[in-house]
Symmetry: C2
Subunit: 126 residues, 2 copies
Amino acid sequence: MRRRNTATKDAVLSVLHSTGKAMSQGAIEKEIGVDINRATIYRVLNRYCEDGVLHRIVADDGRQYFALCVECDKKQKPLHHFHFRCEKCETIECLPEPVHFSISNDYKVEKVNCVLTGICKDCVNS
Amino acid sequence: MRRRNTATKDAVLSVLHSTGKAMSQGAIEKEIGVDINRATIYRVLNRYCEDGVLHRIVADDGRQYFALCVECDKKQKPLHHFHFRCEKCETIECLPEPVHFSISNDYKVEKVNCVLTGICKDCVNS
DNA sequence: AATATTAATGCGACCAAGTTGCATTAATTT
DNA sequence: AAATTAATGCAACTTGGTCGCATTAATATT
């Protein structure tokens, strides 16, 4: 099941690159310009997550947001980092702040999902 | 708009007390014994959150879970604490582990939502 | 104790996010 | 150029959660 290159996949990646933030399917659909089916966008995003190109954040609004893993690398973000969801501009940002925790070895931790919510620095002064 | 005491509200609280964990509407409905409407349970839960009796956690499954704030107090949990969602027994636990982070003052942080996901200590040995 | 007030409930309809089945299209292999 | 099968579009569906509205019942008032 080798992956194939398509215009849709490229378009999704380029939108994520250009905004530099984590985006929901809806936000991507709005920004992407061309008309791409909702289900297709979800499938592209899910595939990228499987392939380690994107990571998925579930925010406290219950929705999924997707962010480039490369973006995180560039800014030297740790594997598990905080995310900030701005309620005004409706974007999610990967923060350089690492998530630290200690937990009994009896627990098997598989995923870490930390989201701060509020007004981001761009929106707080406007 | 003074709150009124009802059997439904008591039943919801007592289920949460008896399990000692954060529960979704669905889990509460299953455990509660009596037949209570879905919308009503949600309304009860939302009211309790407004009143500071419960707090709401949105897990990485995108669903809302509700936990007693008193439970947290008892175990001396900090205001912002980690939560652990077990994928096997489908419960969420409030952990005593506090959430620490530092972020630029330019951001206005209003909510903190941190969930670890995996297999809890009760399920890992079974 | 009887009545008035209005919060709480049940029901059904509704919405939004996300997924899935299936026929069709098109990227890669041969 | 033909064959293979991943990717897409569409519609239907699922699930979590909310809302409007008529009805019920907890509290306040008499």
